[in-house]
């Protein structure tokens, strides 16, 4: 009964989503307050219905109700509880349901936090959100129904794909989806503004918190996904330029560009057309990513051609929404009034340059992801576009971008002084050069790593020095008071930029990593960077739904054991699949990483051993970036619904 109630709630959500689109949309055209008012309760109720459906599916997974095809195919009665929950989104149907859940959550959030905007803008935005919801609900119900039942239920399920049975994966998709789908809010507002024909600085202020919110979630989601790949795939890499990963990177880059251009639009009413375009682009790339991952087109172009239902449906959704939005854009963009003017050397100018470079990065990733697919579809030839292509093209764009980031922060709006900005950054320059020399002396080549590490340090110092320069002067107390008085968004910018610097440092340090693939004999030690690793024992162990062989390895430095790690190789009975579990120990900011392969009779074990200096900075940097974003989001002036008349000027000096 719970299951079928969930199923019905999902169908009902579709009916309500259609109403959420039609009634407010007509209301906005006819300027009818009552019809427009429908949007908010409809959006909230739609979310509750989808949540009910999602809860019912989760219940079915938790109690192992094998009358659901989805549970049979992706669960197992012995699976640990947490994976019964995360297994709900560890498969196609469930993950699309989660997608729709987040989409309807976004609709509900707009409905709740949209006091400070005109009724019409809100009604139109929620109508678009309703239309998006309806399209995806229809997709679920017609092609990917998680509530499909069988009358004769089997006694055991086929278990969840073992590589997905991991705590990292339990958190990664929801975060990623919050990011992906969070951009739908911005998309809906862009479409609503184009339909309504009013786009101004106030609009930019409305979308900025949502952009930030989606960007933070996506940043965390990508970081989590990359860390998960790092420790479960067992080959020590954290980014494979796999189309699935690129699918999340594309909207992130577009979202980053949007974040910056929306800032310009809010302050100066410039870059309107561009900001609207980016708003459409960010979500379009999310949709494209969903299409790539969910249509099966990546597994094989052939598989897609032989079972095209899902793919064609998503493609139709994609074409309808992206095409529709771009058509609207083409119709209305020309009529937008031009905004404030600015000199090329100014904060605005720097942000334009930032947008150009980010767009180039984004285009590179799009081309690198789609080109092999197109080639395979047209000629049948398979090529793989991987790290060499992306590194060659992206590094020359990304490093100058990193160099420019602190300069942009130092320039003032409207008309800036480049020389003065550079002067203020001289400390950062010097520290960066000294750091590069120090890294070079300590770790040696490759030169690219040395240069990138220098730029990274410059970026961290440069990002933070904006705060210091703004606070400096007078006595210590006065400076501190001034620092405390700076708006949170200024802290957010500086901290996010510094976080980017840390991530860059972590990436640069990959060049100094040590890798060694050895057949390890028992009781002998192998050099990995500054450490020695040796096997103490290899033994089998039984887990709840797997059996594993694990090795106890000692990590030594200068003859003294400083840690033990337990890399393992697991075998999952139900799927008859193997998966490696890396043994990782964090030492300082670096990590010793070991993964084991076959064990041989004479006691030797094939193993991959790595020493990865500073590698944790990649993810720490991402966390700091997200924290910076959160600080900006917490800034009172950005918070949704603050633009109320009386409160604003009165509170201003207190900041």
């Amino acid at each position: 009964m719970i299951v079928e109630t969930g199923h019905y709630a999902l169908v009902l959500a579709l009916a309500l989503a259609l109403a959420q689109f039609a009634i407010p949309f007509i209301g906005a055209r006819l300027h009818d307050a009552a019809l427009m008012r429908v949007a908010r309760p409809a959006a909230i109720t739609q979310f509750l219905l989808v949540a009910l459906a999602y809860g019912a599916l989760t219940y079915a997974h938790v109690v192992s109700d094998f009358s659901l095809v989805n549970v049979i195919e992706n669960s197992h009665s012995l699976k640990p509880f947490i994976y019964k929950i995360s297994g709900v989104w560890g498969n196609h149907e469930g993950s699309i349901l989660l997608w729709v859940l987040v989409l309807s959550l976004c609709g509900a959030l707009i409905a709740i936090f949209s006091n400070a905007m005109s009724d019409r803008l809100r009604a139109d935005a929620l109508a678009i959100q309703g239309l998006l919801g309806a399209a995806f609900l229809l997709f679920i119900l017609l092609t990917s129904n998680p509530f499909a039942r069988v009358a004769l239920a089997p006694w055991e399920g086929r278990d969840l794909n073992p590589i997905l049975q991991d705590p990292g994966l339990a958190i990664h998709p929801p975060l990623l989806y919050l990011g992906y789908v969070g951009f739908s809010i911005v998309f809906s507002f862009a479409a609503a503004a184009l339909i309504g024909g009013r786009i101004d600085a106030a609009w930019a202020r409305i979308i900025r918190p949502w952009t930030l919110f989606a960007w933070i979630a996506l940043t965390l989601g990508i970081a989590m996904g990359s860390y998960w790949a790092y420790y479960t795939l067992g080959w020590g890499g954290f980014w494979f330029w796999d189309p699935v990963e690129n699918a999340s990177l594309m909207p992130w880059i577009a979202g980053t560009a949007l974040l910056h251009s929306a800032a310009v639009m809010e302050k100066r009413e410039a870059l309107k057309v561009w900001t609207i375009f980016l708003s459409i682009l960010a979500f379009s790339l999310s949709l494209l990513g969903t299409f790539l991952v969910r249509s099966g087109v990546l597994t094989s172009v052939h598989a897609f051609a032989s079972d095209p239902d899902r793919g064609v449906f998503i493609l139709a959704i994609l074409v309808f929404f992206i095409g529709g939005a771009l058509a609207l854009f083409a119709l209305r963009a020309g009529a937008l009034p031009v905004g404030g003017v600015f000199a090329p050397i100014s904060r605005e100018g720097a942000l334009v340059l930032n947008n150009l470079l980010l767009s180039a990065c984004c285009a590179t990733v799009v081309v690198g992801t789609l080109y092999p697919l197109a080639l395979e579809a047209l000629t049948g030839e398979k090529i793989s576009v991987g790290a060499p292509f992306f590194n060659t093209v992206l590094i020359p764009i990304a490093l100058p971008l990193a160099l420019l980031m602190p300069i942009g922060q130092m320039l003032s709006w409207k008309r800036g002084d480049l020389l003065a900005a550079l002067q203020r950054l001289r400390v950062a320059f010097v520290v960066g050069v000294v750091a590069a020399a120090a890294f070079g002396a300590w770790y040696g080549t490759p030169f690219l790593s040395i240069i990138a590490a220098g730029i990274a340090i410059y970026l961290v110092i440069g990002g933070l020095s904006d705060l210091i320069i703004r606070a400096r002067g007078g006595s210590g107390r006065a400076s501190f008071k001034r620092l405390a008085g700076l708006p949170l968004s200024a802290f957010g910018t500086s901290i996010a930029h510094a976080g980017m610097g840390l991530t860059l440092l972590g990436l640069a340090a990959t060049g100094w990593g040590v890798e060694s693939i050895v057949a390890m004999k028992p009781l002998s030690f192998y050099d990995v960077g500054p450490y020695q690793i040796g096997i103490e024992s290899v033994s089998p162990r039984q887990g709840p739904n797997y059996s594993e062989v694990y090795a106890v390895m000692a990590v030594r430095k200068d003859g003294a054991t400083i840690a033990t790690i337990e890399p393992a190789k697991r075998f999952y009975q139900a799927r008859r699949m193997e998966r490696s579990e890396a043994g990782i120990i964090t030492i300082g900011l670096g990590q010793v990483y070991a993964a084991i392969g076959e064990s041989h009779e004479e006691g030797t074990v094939d193993a991959r051993l790595y020493w990865k200096p500073l590698v944790t900075l990649i993810w720490i940097g991402a966390l700091i970036m997200a924290f910076g974003g959160a600080l900006s989001l917490a800034d009172r002036r950005l918070r949704i619904g603050v633009a109320r008349r009386a409160a604003a000027p009165a509170l201003e000096p207190a900041e």
């Binding site: 019905y8 009552a34 000027p649």
Partner: protein
């Protein structure tokens, strides 16, 4: 009951649309939000100027710009926002009719209101005894999870696990039975046999220890003797193997079921017969051991080998011979779906066109689409 819930849900959803339509008034000034925004922006420019981050002329210019927009927002024609009762009524009627119609017609097509929830524990409790083997096994497994000290349960379930390809679990069950119920020659021998099956027919040193323990308890235990013979043959100690099998053949009662297998081994060892080729094409040594086994064990073992081949190819796919072998094996085992999948996977994993052509040729020959 369930339809009552559906009706309540439908009612709630329709109310979400009707309630705001029924409310009166509330027409708001469309430009109020904009006015507030620009007022705040002007205040912000003022603050930046006092901080010294904006020089006076720029601040003045920016302020003028914002002020102009503020005036424009205030002067914007106050769009007439009305609330027409007629329109609201039409929308309400449409919602009352269309929403349940869409929901019910779609649910009628997709839903199964007749199927109750089937949580596993409830099913296990209510399933009639012995109706089918799978439910019985599932129930015993459930029982063992709660009572891991029940050796009888492990003993009953172990052969079934081994037969259905859950070798590791079978080993676990056999060793639990041995631990909890006490050592007998038969239990040691079964445990050893499970290890052999899991090892793909190889009598591993571990398995050998079990068989030796069995013989220590009962020197005549036939399975243990047999597998030690196989172990000797696998180690290349032909003479010793022949000795073991000859002794077994001589001691065996004439109607013993294992006599045929023993004689088969002897024939192979003496070079009188060659091992029949089996599906997975294992090495000759292994092939012989497999051929000599009882049919169900042989099946389980072949399956184990095929699965290992499949997982190896999954990890490292550029091995055209391996793929060809796997596809043939699935086809022999009559697992058409898996064979199809292997064909698709192979096409994806193999880089060279020639290799893909070989896969395609085989798929065509075996009549596997994909």
């Amino acid at each position: 009951m369930i339809w009552l819930i559906f009706a309540l849900l439908t009612g709630a959803a329709v109310m979400a649309v009707l309630a705001p339509l029924a409310m009166r008034g509330g027409a708001e000034n469309e430009s109020a939000a904009d006015v507030a925004f620009f007022e705040e922006q002007i205040a912000e420019i003022e603050r930046e100027r006092s901080e010294g981050r904006l020089d006076a002329t720029d601040a003045e210019a920016a302020k003028t710009e914002a002020a102009r927009r503020l005036l424009r927002a205030e002067a914007a024609p106050k769009a007439k926002v009305a609330a027409s009762r007629k329109l609201a009524l039409a929308a309400a009627l449409a919602a009352i009719v269309a929403m349940p119609a869409v929901a019910l017609s779609l649910y009628a097509r997709l839903g199964h209101s007749d199927l109750p929830d089937m949580p596993l524990t409830a099913r296990l409790e209510s399933a009639p005894d012995g109706r089918d083997l799978a439910s019985a096994v599932a129930r015993i497994e459930q029982h063992l999870r709660e009572h891991p000290e029940d050796g009888r349960g492990f003993e009953v379930i172990a052969p079934y696990l081994l037969r259905t390809g859950r070798g590791e679990e079978a080993i676990h069950a056999y060793s639990e039975a041995l631990r909890l119920l006490g050592a007998t020659a038969a239990r040691y021998a079964s445990l050893g046999e499970a290890r052999v099956v899991v090892a793909g027919g190889l009598v591993t040193p571990e398995a050998k220890t079990e068989f030796e323990a069995a013989l220590a308890l009962d020197p005549s235990a036939p399975e243990a003797q047999y597998y030690l013979g196989v172990a000797a043959a696998q180690a290349g100690e032909k003479e010793k193997a022949i000795e073991i099998f000859s002794k077994m053949a001589a001691d065996a009662p004439p109607d013993a079921a294992y006599l045929k297998a023993v004689n088969g081994q002897l024939a192979i060892l003496r070079g009188e017969a060659s091992a029949p080729a089996s599906a997975g094409g294992p090495s000759s040594e292994q092939g012989r051991a497999i051929a000599a086994m009882p049919a169900d064990q042989r099946q389980a073992m072949i399956r184990g080998m095929v699965d290992r081949l499949a997982s190896r190819l999954e990890a490292k796919g550029d091995d055209v011979e391996g793929w060809l072998k796997l596809i043939r094996a699935y086809s022999v085992l009559a697992e058409t779906e898996k064979a199809k999948k292997a064909v698709t996977d192979a096409r994806r994993a193999l880089a060279s066109k020639d290799d893909v052509a070989r896969i395609d040729a085989l798929a065509k020959k075996l009549n596997i689409g994909g």
